[in-house]
C-alpha cells in the first residue's frame, strides 16, 4: 500500500466495513453522489447502492434518531454529521437515547452506532466549522469517543468503532484530512482505549490527540535542538481513557503538558490533569500545564492561528516546566 491521505484511509475503512458486514449502513448529508463535503464517502454509494449508502435531509436530530431505530432493527449505522458546529441539534438524541438505550433496557437493546464528526479547527473555515465538541460527548456516560491523528490510525480506529457494540463518537481532525502516511491498512495494533507513545523523551511528556499531535511532534523537534527531550503521547481514545499509559509516562518524565484545541475550561486537559494527580502525584517534578484554545468562541480564519496551540506556545510551556 502506497501513501494514503486520512480521507482515503477513512474511505477505505467505510468501504471495508460495508463490504465485510452487510448490516452496515452509511448515511448523512451529501454522503451519496457527492461523496461528502470532504469526500470521505466518495464512491461508496456507487459500490454499495443507494439502500446502504444514502443522503439524508438536513436534519441532524433525525440522523441520530433514525440511527437508534435502525440499530433496534438490527442494522449497524455509521452516520455522518457534516461539521462539528452542525452536530448540536443531534445532542438531544445522542445524550437522551444513543448513550442511554443499552442501560435503560438492561443491555437488551444495543446501540452499535458510529457517529462521524469532522472536527476541530485549522482549515480557515467559516463560523461553526471549526469547533471542538469532545467534552460534550466525553461527559456523556454511555458513549465512547475517539479522535485519530494519522491516516493509518484513522483507518484502524474507524473499523474498530464500527465493529464496537457501544455507540462511538468519532472525531475526525479535518486539518489532518489531507496529510499522508505510508503503510498497511489494518485493524491490528493498538485498540480502542489504548494511548500511543509516538516519541520517547526523558524531560517532559506532551499529552494530546487529534490534529495537535502533529503540532506536539513539531514542538518536540524544536526542543530537541535545545537539548530538551520530549515524549509525545497520542491519546487516540478519549473514552475509554488510557490512564495507565498516561501515568506511566508521567512516572518516566515527571513533567507533563496537555495540549488540545478545545477551550481550556473543562477541556480534556482538566480530566487528564486530575487523573495524573490521582495516579502519579508523587512522580511530578513540576505543575502540570495546559496549552489549549482560550475560553472564547472559535475565531475567524485570519485569527485561528492565534487561537490554536502553536509550536511556540507548546515549547514555551515545556521550557517553563523543565526550568521549574
Amino acid at each position: 500500500m502506497g501513501e494514503l491521505t486520512m480521507v482515503a484511509a477513512l474511505n477505505a475503512a467505510l468501504h471495508d466495513a460495508l463490504k465485510e458486514d452487510p448490516r452496515t449502513l452509511v448515511f448523512g448529508e451529501d454522503v451519496g453522489a457527492l461523496g461528502g463535503v470532504f469526500r470521505v464517502t466518495e464512491g461508496l454509494q456507487e459500490a454499495f447502492g443507494r439502500e446502504r449508502v444514502f443522503n439524508t435531509p438536513i436534519a441532524e436530530a433525525g440522523i441520530a434518531g433514525i440511527s437508534v431505530g435502525l440499530a433496534m432493527a438490527g442494522w449497524r449505522p455509521v452516520a455522518e454529521m457534516q461539521f462539528d458546529g452542525f452536530s448540536y441539534p443531534a445532542l438531544d438524541q445522542v445524550i437522551g437515547h444513543v448513550a442511554k438505550y443499552r442501560e435503560r433496557t438492561r443491555g437488551r437493546v444495543a446501540m452499535p452506532i458510529t457517529i462521524r464528526i469532522p472536527s476541530f479547527g485549522g482549515i480557515k473555515g467559516k463560523e461553526h466549522h471549526g469547533e471542538s465538541p469532545e467534552t460534550y460527548y466525553v461527559h456523556t456516560a454511555g458513549l465512547k469517543v475517539l479522535a485519530p491523528s494519522t491516516p493509518l490510525d484513522a483507518y484502524r480506529l474507524l473499523r474498530l468503532a464500527i465493529a464496537d457494540e457501544d455507540p462511538v463518537i468519532f472525531l475526525e481532525p479535518k486539518s489532518r484530512y489531507w496529510t499522508k502516511e505510508e503503510g498497511e491498512l489494518t485493524t491490528e495494533g493498538p485498540g480502542i482505549g489504548v494511548a500511543r507513545i509516538l516519541r520517547e523523551g526523558p524531560s517532559c511528556v506532551l499529552v494530546t490527540y487529534g490534529a495537535m499531535v502533529q503540532r506536539c511532534l513539531e514542538a518536540a523537534a524544536v526542543l530537541e535542538d535545545e537539548g530538551i527531550g520530549c515524549a509525545v503521547l497520542d491519546l487516540r481514545s478519549l473514552v475509554p481513557l488510557d490512564v495507565e499509559t498516561i501515568a506511566g509516562a508521567v512516572r518516566t518524565t515527571g513533567r507533563v503538558i496537555v495540549v488540545h484545541e478545545a477551550p481550556l475550561t473543562l477541556g480534556m486537559g482538566a480530566e487528564v490533569v486530575a487523573r495524573i494527580v490521582e495516579e502519579a502525584f508523587d512522580h511530578l517534578e513540576a505543575p502540570v500545564l495546559r496549552v489549549t484554545g482560550p475560553d472564547v468562541p472559535y475565531p475567524p480564519a485570519s485569527l485561528e492561528q492565534v487561537y490554536l496551540p502553536s509550536v511556540q506556545r507548546i515549547a514555551a510551556a515545556v521550557r517553563k516546566v523543565v526550568a521549574y
Binding site: 449502513l25 439502500e51 446502504r52 439524508t56 435531509p57 436534519a59 436530530a61 433525525g62 434518531g65 433514525i66 440511527s67 437508534v68 431505530g69 435502525l70 440499530a71 433496534m72 432493527a73 438490527g74 442494522w75 441539534p89 438531544d92 438524541q93 437522551g96 437515547h97 442511554k100 438505550y101 443499552r102 442501560e103 435503560r104 433496557t105 438492561r106 443491555g107 437488551r108 437493546v109 444495543a110 456516560a141 454511555g142 465512547k144 464496537d164 457494540e165 457501544d166 482505549g193 473514552v239 475509554p240 481513557l241 490512564v243 495507565e244
Partner: protein
Amino acid sequence: MSSENAIPMVRLLAPDGSAVGDTEIGLSDDQLRELLRLMIRARRLDRECWALQRQGELTVYPPFEGQEAAQVGSAFALGPQDFAFPSFRELAAAVVRGVDVVEYLQYHRGTWHGGPYDPYASGFAPICVPVATQIVHAVGWAMGARLDGMPACALAYFGDGSASEGDFHEAANMAAVFEAPVILFCQNNGWAISVPAREQYVAPIAARAAGYGFPGVRVDGNDVLAVLSVTREAADRARSGGGPTLIEAMTYRIGAHSTADDATRYRDDADVDAWRARDPILRYRAWLLGRGTVDEAWIGATEAETEAWVADVRADLASLDAPPASDVFDHAFAQAPGTLEHQREEFLGGG
C-alpha cells in the same frame, strides 16, 4: 378555531353507541369482545395505578383514562411483526401488545428506567419521556424493516404537545423521503400538561400530513372501531409499500397529566364532564349490547376476571424490590471503560 373544524373526522359510533358509519369492519365477534375486554382491563389497571401511587407503591404515574379507545384500537391493528414506539402514557397499548405489566410498572415504581421489559418480545419499544424523540426512532425502525424487505410497519405514539417538537417534523419529513412504513399516531388529548390545544398550534395536526406528502386522517379517538379501522388501513398501506400515514385521534385526558399534577388549576370540571359523556368504553359497550355481541352476564364475568388480574398485578408489584446496586454499573456499556470499572470497585467494593 374555524380551521379546527375544517377537517373531516372519521367516526363509526356516535357517543350514545349508535352506528353512524359502516361498523362492519371485518372483525369476528370474538375480536369485537376482545376489544371491550382490553379496554375494561386497561381502565381498571389505570385506576389501580393511580391508587397505588397514592399508597406509595408507585412513584409519579401518568393516567390515560379517556384514551382507552385510541390506544387499544390502534395497538389492536398491529401484528406481531410490527413495532410500536410509545411515549409515556401508553400503558393501554402495552397491555394490547402483551407487554408484561409488572415489568412495565417497574418504571413507575422507580426500580428501573424506561426499558424494563424486553422490547423485542412484544414489539413495544421502551417508554420514551422526552416527547417526540421516539417518532424518529419509529421512522428508523421502519426504514430498517423496509431494507430487510419485511412486510412490517412501525407505529409511533405521541401527543398533541409532542407535535410542536422539532423531532416531529424531522421524523415526518424523513418518513416521507424514505417512504418508511410508519404510522405517526397522535393522541390529541387536548392538553400539553396545562397548555390547551388552542395555545399550542393553529391548523389541525392531521392537516400537516399534506405538507409532508402523505395521507393524514383525523379520527374520533373515543371510537375504538373507527380508530382500529383507520389504523389498520394505514398499516396495510405501510406494509405494502405505500409509505407513512399521520393519524390524529381526537380524545381527552380525563385525569390530570400525572399524579403530581393538579388539573383543577387550569381547566373546568364542566369540560371534563362533557368528555365523560363521550366515554369510549360506555359507547362501545352500548353498541355491543345493542348488537347482541355481549350481554350483562359477559360484562360482569369480564369485570370479575379483570379484578382478579389486577389483584395479581398488585401483589406481584408489591414484591418488586430495588435491583442490586451493581445494576448501576452493569448495563451502561457492552464493554465498560477501565475508568468505570475502577469506579465500580470504589462504590461496590473489590469483591
